[in-house]
Symmetry: C2
Subunit: 126 residues, 2 copies
């Protein structure tokens, strides 16, 4: 098992961050890691937003978040602890992570309201 790769702060790119967080599963995982400041391991996410996800897929999602520089993963005994690198990122790209997390929150709130009102948007486009 090759050692986990973490990019140095100056190698982190906007494209990588946006790509990593443009996937709803990864966005949910990342939001969870950011909000819960204690370390999160992978198996906490075997179901993400009511969908169960194979652990190989989950492992890839974590790798993408790690490669993008969003999280730092460390092995502690048998399990992995994941923490966000948001303090570092806030220095390199001020406001970026905060704005994205906030936007996701706004969107979730809107969706919850829509659902409560009985709207039946399918998400398909015309």
């Amino acid at each position: 098992m090759r050692p986990l790769f973490h990019p140095s702060i100056e190698d982190i790119t906007v494209e990588g961050i946006l790509h990593a967080l443009s996937d709803p599963v990864r966005a949910a995982i990342y939001a969870d890691i950011v909000s819960q400041e204690f370390a999160q391991n992978c198996s906490n996410f075997l179901t993400v937003s009511n969908k169960s996800i194979p652990k190989s897929t989950l492992s890839q999602h974590f790798r993408i978040l790690r490669d993008a520089g969003l999280i730092r993963s460390e092995r502690h005994g048998v399990e992995m602890h994941n923490v966000s690198r948001c303090a570092e990122l806030a220095k390199r790209f001020p406001g970026l992570i905060h704005a994205i997390v906030t936007a996701h929150t706004i969107q979730s709130a809107g969706e919850a309201r829509g659902k409560k009102a009985g709207a039946k948007k399918s998400g398909k486009r015309a």
Copy 2:
């Protein structure tokens, strides 16, 4: 030719925006549209950051930006005019677009400095 689709403001998603702007070509196109407040047509972008891009690919890039709700495209005679929807977006997701555009600017500035210093980062990972 089917009429161009533009999502209504409440159907615009964070995932869509991040995905659209996670591609460097689309990010460059969007930055150009935002900065030049007058309307931009597609053929202004036949080369983006020193790479020439087929017009079918460019057309798809514009469609993705449009579907994501980032731009509005209107036919004026034989050509298309593209304008950013950043005012609307700033209302729905305050600070998001601004933070992304700023982050891209910071990154470009860093890359320019790196190049001047003669660094030879390949962008490949170990």
